[in-house]
């Protein structure tokens, strides 16, 4: 019985550590689905408008290393750069959810794995 409990604890612990990710892990996974990331391209993508009203920088500003405000509601948005906010890009499902929402807002479509890789690689260089 005791052994069983230990086994469960270890299994639960393992599954948690499998869920937690680092920005490097996410970058690798996006690169694996596309090509090598380009921070330069990522920064241009971040600053540019893509046929709609907003850019990424409309809400996150450039550099996104400080608290910013949502362009419509004024609600405070925590920094996007992992250097300023270590919680960023440590949960794959959360990152994917926000890419889906915000890419739809900025581009009117999903972002490609290459675009995500580029932007993330640039964000990881922001001090």
């Amino acid at each position: 019985m005791l052994v069983k409990r230990w086994a469960i604890c270890i299994l639960v612990g393992l599954s948690f550590s499998a869920m937690a990710a680092t920005p490097q892990d996410l970058l690798k996974s996006y690169e694996a689905q596309s090509g090598k990331a380009s921070p330069v391209r990522g920064e241009q993508f971040f600053n540019a408008k893509h046929g709609k009203e907003w850019s990424c920088a409309s809400c996150h500003e450039n550099p996104p290393n400080h608290d910013t405000k949502h362009i419509v509601t004024g609600k405070v948005i925590k920094p996007l750069a992992p250097s300023a906010n270590p919680a960023r890009f440590t949960d794959e499902a959360k990152a994917e959810k926000w890419f889906k929402r915000n890419c739809n807002d900025v581009l009117g479509r999903d972002c490609t794995a290459q675009e995500k890789a580029d932007v993330l690689s640039w964000l990881m260089t922001v001090k």
Binding site: T73, K75, R101, D105
Partner: protein
Amino acid sequence: MKKTLFFAASLLLAASPTFAAKMTMPADAPASYEAECASCHMAYPPALLSEQSWKNVMSSLSKHFGTDASVDAKTQAELTNWLIKNAATRQKYSETAPENRITKTSWFIRKHDEVRADVWKRASIKSPANCGACHIDAAKGIFSENNIKIPAK
């Protein structure tokens, strides 16, 4: 006896305006309310909209006031049930909000009719949806007229 009654009545009268201005956040808000909704705007107390309005909001999240606010099916059901359970019940607040906007309800417009158009546009206010810009305790669900500070810029 008469005195006590009078005292009780005046207490009630004194308390009622505050009561009307209080929209407390229910203690059982699901964690997803903060994570999914309040990441972009204030966590509006559910009593600010009617049941039908919340249903309308929650069934159109992919087109949510100009942004994509979609959530997964499980979260959507959880949030919808909680919002409906705590939706406005008093007659005064129970209309179906035009465009699903709290700020387009007749009670909201009436309550804010003295606020000039240029005030709404100030940089620190930006939008009538930014309750906390002027209602300093909005996050606690307090919208009393005694708790208002309109920023100058």
